[in-house]
């Protein structure tokens, strides 16, 4: 990303492929001129849809509907043109080429959104949720991205920052107006308020696992001894014969992956090589990969053959669901979940269990602020550590200017999530709330 921010760019806004309609966007100072060169003359009023026969060198390219947006009232904040063409990739390509021949440059991925951010039309969190929204694979994911695009996370970060501004302005007043005979804030009150912000930031940090899971989806890995029935279960869950099933132990060697929706999220199931000591080089590699996949998994389905119950220990921090297979052939221990794919037994129960695990441990609560990527997490972690330091220096009696170093650091970190904070904000806050001056 990050070409020049000042030239005119063009790109299809809809995916390549045949469809009823396709949209091409042109953004930048020359967008109107390019529209005119393509045969749209006179130019239509801003935000008025007009029918245009697009031409290049007298030759008809396509018939389209064109809308012109003028800065700053557009998605990017620049002059922007949207052309709705017929949905044929060849037509789209010809129109894009024609725009380029009139001075536009092919946009790089994400460049329209980047322009919206630098022009202040979207904050960073909102821009990130645009990308997440586009990539959403389930209705629930789309809902979460829409919530952050609507400002849920930005609002929460903003509220936390405002809470800090309250404490900051009063500590500043205590420094700059210590002679005025007022008490601006008691230490205990300041500590309580910093604690409150700290709790808020911690709560935000705690959402990260759910947020990432909810936007990216989950990894569930099926592990177990050879011939425990892993491939059979995978095939049953995805509803097709994805994994080769034979009575021979060690049939599955590489990892087989397939995605299904569980608890509202896309969950990628991986079938792995059975865990045992093997002299076969290829199988050994497969077994190492299985263990590695288990370490990184969100959910582990640990299969145990009810006819030969023997568990292979795995290292993981994932949610583990123990499943006894072949429950039609042998007894399952009391309180354990047993299934049999051929007898179609326990499958509904297993799906219900998976659903519950996804919802209880991974789905972000609807409508609330959630951290969904590493950048957001780093900012929130920085805010948390700064608030801890401020909490510490407040409690040990340090002077205000020392406490403030960390409070400003926390406020800046929260601002890094979304917006900005300036010293004049602090001074305005002081003057709006206190009678200062002898």
């Amino acid at each position: 990303m990050n070409g020049s921010l000042t030239d005119t760019i063009v790109a299809p806004a809809t995916p390549v492929g045949r469809s009823a309609l396709a949209i091409v966007r042109i953004d930048g100072p020359q967008s109107s001129a390019i529209l005119e060169s393509l045969g749209c003359s006179p130019l239509p009023d801003e935000r008025h849809a007009v029918f245009v026969r697009l031409k290049k060198d007298g030759e008809l390219l396509d018939e389209c509907v064109a809308i012109r947006y003028l800065a700053p009232r557009s998605f990017t904040g620049n002059d922007l043109v949207e052309l709705t063409l017929h949905g044929n990739p060849l037509l789209v390509q010809r129109v894009v080429s024609a725009a380029i021949s009139h001075g536009a440059r092919m946009a790089e991925p994400g460049e329209f959104t980047e322009r919206a951010v630098v022009n202040g039309k979207l904050d960073l969190v909102q821009a990130e949720s645009v990308a997440d929204l586009i990539n959403a694979r389930t209705p629930l994911q789309a809902k979460l991205s829409l919530s952050n695009l609507g400002g849920s996370l930005s609002e929460t970060a903003g509220r936390l920052r405002e809470g800090l501004l309250y404490v900051i302005s009063r500590l500043e007043a205590a420094l700059d107006f210590s002679e005025e005979g007022y008490s601006f804030i008691e230490r205990d009150d300041a500590i309580a308020r910093v604690d409150e912000s700290l709790n808020g930031v911690q709560r935000l940090n705690d959402t990260f696992r759910r947020g990432v899971a909810s936007t990216r989806g989950l990894e569930a890995v099926i592990i177990g001894r050879p011939n425990a029935g892993k491939s059979t279960l995978l095939n049953r869950l995805v509803g097709s014969e994805r994994s080769i099933v034979t009575p021979v132990a060690g049939t599955t060697r590489d990892i087989v992956r397939e995605t299904i929706e569980l608890g509202g999220l896309p969950v990628t199931l991986s079938d792995t090589a059975g865990l045992r000591d093997s002299d076969d080089v290829v199988e050994s590699i497969g077994i190492d990969r299985a263990r590695e996949a288990a370490r990184r998994a969100d959910i582990i389905l640990q299969l145990i053959d009810a006819t030969a119950p023997d568990e292979e220990p795995v290292e993981t921090s994932a949610a583990v669901i123990r499943v006894y297979t072949k429950s039609d052939l042998a007894d399952v221990p009391e309180g354990e979940l047993g299934i049999s794919v051929p007898a179609e037994r326990g499958i509904e129960e297993l799906l219900a269990r998976l659903d519950a695990v996804v919802r209880d441990q991974f789905v972000a609560p609807e409508g609330s602020a959630v951290l969904v990527n590493e950048r957001q997490r780093l900012a929130a972690v920085e805010a948390e550590s700064a608030l801890r330091a401020a909490r510490f220096s407040l409690a040990d009696g340090s002077s205000e200017e020392i406490v403030l170093v960390d409070l400003y650091r926390a406020a800046t970190a929260l601002a890094a999530l979304t917006g900005g904070i300036s010293n004049s904000d602090v001074i305005t806050e002081i003057f709006s709330k206190f009678c200062i001056g002898k």
Partner: protein, 622 residues
């Protein structure tokens, strides 16, 4: 007709500094004032310094200015404010005898053979520069520094009465505003006020709270060994419902409320009528009763600045405990005056587009003696540099409060009188009074404006402190005496232990350390004993807060790349991609560096990115 290198117009706190520093630098200076005896006059409260303002005075002292020296000669109560907090936010303040103060300023200026004091009213300044006086005479100068304070088209308000003039009993400067407009400058209007003065012998002091100074007063100037004046008390009293009701029922007679004054007054120095209206829930407001001098018959009523009519002022004052029988010797009044939007100045306080014309002090929209003096000093230095044909001095925001103030003024402008606060400085921990000489005196030395004695004292101070830091940072040797002493003090010796490490502990008590560590750590103790009390506190706090100070240093260094990316004065902002709004903002402020551009309100990160690209490209081309 007389020729000078520099003409300074105005003999207030800004003008005095400007004239003095130009003379020190070898320039021939004329100081034009309407009244010789008004030079260095304290128009409002009889005190110098305070929070953040005290830092400005120390900066002036470190750069060779006069305010610290004059204060030490006239100070009658010294107190370091925020003493319980860290050194970065401590602010020294001194109550002064106002007559002794202006006498001290006059004496300091009289000692400079390069200064000619010209008594007269400036009627016009024209390019070239020709300064015309009321008596028809003219002065010619290569550079002009205008420091007219509150005197430009000044109007005093006391109740319904209006009088032309910038200070009680002194006239207004009428013609000069037109000259400034002829130079292309836009003028605005500001307001300030002053409280009533009360006859000292009409006050019952037994009913007032005493407000003493520090038991061991600390001078401002590094040149001062001992303070010449005796130290006196100030007092406190408080307003009550009675006063508030009186003010409320007479608000329609206050010029600010009746619409007689439209100019903006300072939020942080509100009149008592403002306080009563805006903070109606406050049961009382503090009044700081300051002596106007050792023998002076008046008291200054700090906290009840007002322009209410005389009869209301009488009743309000008499409602204060201790003032039941008080008589007002001079009534409070408000002053309205012209100022120049400082966004029209460059970072050297020179009018943009008029080489050699400098503005400093209240004319730039500030409030306060210290703010004025610091600007006067900088404008003076830069007028001198202009005459010498050398580069102007611009102090960075991480280098001095003076740098913060000037950058704020020229970048943000101001719509109310600007006062210095520590919270305006984002790198506050780097700007403590204790480090001022290290930061600034070397600059003054390079500019050849420093007297030998000051330089000698500063160098001695710096090397004393450096020596103390060195020995305190040296790892302790685990010999028998040291170990024994540590055990007695309840401390254990870990690897890399040093006195510096001990100082970082919250329970470290320097006095106890000096008393008890003599035999175990003679070198450390003797190095610390060579320091003054203030220097010792500085060493301890530098050790204690080193982590925080280093962090601010790093933050300051991080933004310095943008500060160093200079924007040429000839820059035209018709850059592709810059919106009309951005182009207008940038063209009207004309920032000197990318860092300054980024602080202009409303300038977007996108505009800064475009500007950065453009500047980098033109640097590469060169």
């Amino acid at each position: 007709m007389s020729r000078f290198d520099v003409v300074v117009i105005g003999g207030g706190h800004a003008g005095a500094e400007a004239a003095r520093v130009c003379a020190r630098g070898g320039a021939r200076v004329a100081l034009v004032t309407m009244m010789r005896e008004a030079i260095g006059r304290m128009s409002c409260n009889p005190a110098i310094g305070g929070l953040a303002k005290g830092n400005l005075v120390k900066e002036i002292d470190a750069l060779g200015g006069l305010m610290g020296e004059a204060t030490d000669r006239a100070g009658i109560q010294f107190k370091v404010l925020n003493r319980s907090k860290g050194p970065a936010v401590q602010g020294p303040r001194a109550q002064c005898d106002r007559d002794l103060y202006s006498a001290a300023v006059r004496a300091i200026l009289d000692a400079e053979p390069n200064i000619t004091v010209v008594e007269g009213a400036v009627t016009a300044v024209s390019p070239g520069f020709v300064v015309a006086l009321g008596d028809g005479s003219t002065l010619h100068a290569k550079a002009v520094v205008i420091t007219t304070g509150t005197f430009l088209r000044a109007l005093m308000h006391s109740g319904e009465t209006r009088t032309q003039g910038g200070r009680f009993g002194e006239p207004s400067a009428e013609g000069l505003s037109d000259s400034l407009r002829a130079f292309g400058l836009e003028l605005g209007r500001l307001k300030t006020g002053t409280p009533p003065r009360v006859a000292k012998d009409s006050v019952d002091f037994s009913r007032l709270e005493e407000a003493p100074g520090d038991p061991v007063p600390r001078p401002f100037s590094i040149l001062t060994d001992a303070l010449p004046q005796p130290q006196v008390l100030c007092h406190l009293t408080y307003t009550s419902d009675a006063a508030h009701n009186l003010i409320r029922s007479n608000l329609h007679r206050a010029p600010m409320y009746s619409g007689q004054i439209r100019a903006t007054g300072p939020r942080y120095c509100p009149s008592i009528e403002d306080k009563v209206v805006r903070f109606a829930d406050k049961e009382r407001h503090q009044v700081f009763v300051e002596p106007e001098g050792l023998e002076h018959p008046w008291l200054y009523m700090n906290g009840i600045s007002t322009s209410l009519p005389a009869d209301v002022q009488d009743r309000v004052v008499r409602s204060l405990p201790g003032f039941e029988q008080a008589t007002i010797a001079r009534y409070g009044y408000a002053v309205e005056y012209d100022y120049v939007n400082p966004q029209q100045l460059d970072p050297g306080l020179q009018v943009r587009g008029v080489a050699g014309l400098f503005l400093a002090g209240q004319i730039n929209g500030t409030s306060g003696y210290e703010e004025a003096a610091a600007q006067g000093l900088l404008a003076g230095i830069n007028a001198l540099q202009f005459v010498r044909e050398e580069n102007p001095l611009v102090l960075r925001r991480d280098q001095a409060y003076t740098g913060v103030m000037i950058d704020d003024l020229i970048t943000l402008g101001t719509e109310e009188p600007y006062r210095m606060f520590t919270s305006r400085a984002e790198h506050r921990l780097l700007l403590g009074c204790d480090s001022v000489y290290e930061r600034l005196t070397p600059i003054a030395e390079r500019l050849r404006i420093l007297d030998r004695e000051r330089l000698r004292r500063v160098e001695a101070r710096i090397s004393r402190i450096a020596r103390a830091r060195e020995v305190t940072a040296t790892p302790l040797t685990p010999d028998k005496t040291t170990l024994e002493w540590l055990r007695e003090a309840g401390l254990s010796l870990s690897e890399k232990s040093s006195v510096e490490r001990l100082m970082q502990r919250h329970d470290f008590d320097l006095d106890a350390f000096l008393m008890r560590a003599g035999t175990a750590l003679p070198k450390v103790v003797s190095a610390l004993r060579e320091l003054t009390e203030e220097e010792r506190e500085s060493v301890v706090s530098a050790a204690r807060y080193s982590g925080y100070i280093e962090r601010q240093r790093r933050e300051a260094d991080k933004v310095s790349a943008d500060e160093e990316l200079r924007i040429p004065a000839t820059m035209t902002y018709g850059l592709p991609g810059l919106s009309r709004e951005m182009t207008e903002k940038l063209s009207s402020i004309r920032p000197a560096s990318l860092g300054q551009a980024s602080r202009i309100p409303g300038v977007t990160p996108a505009a800064i990115a475009i500007l950065r690209m453009h500047l980098r490209r033109s640097v590469d081309v060169r």
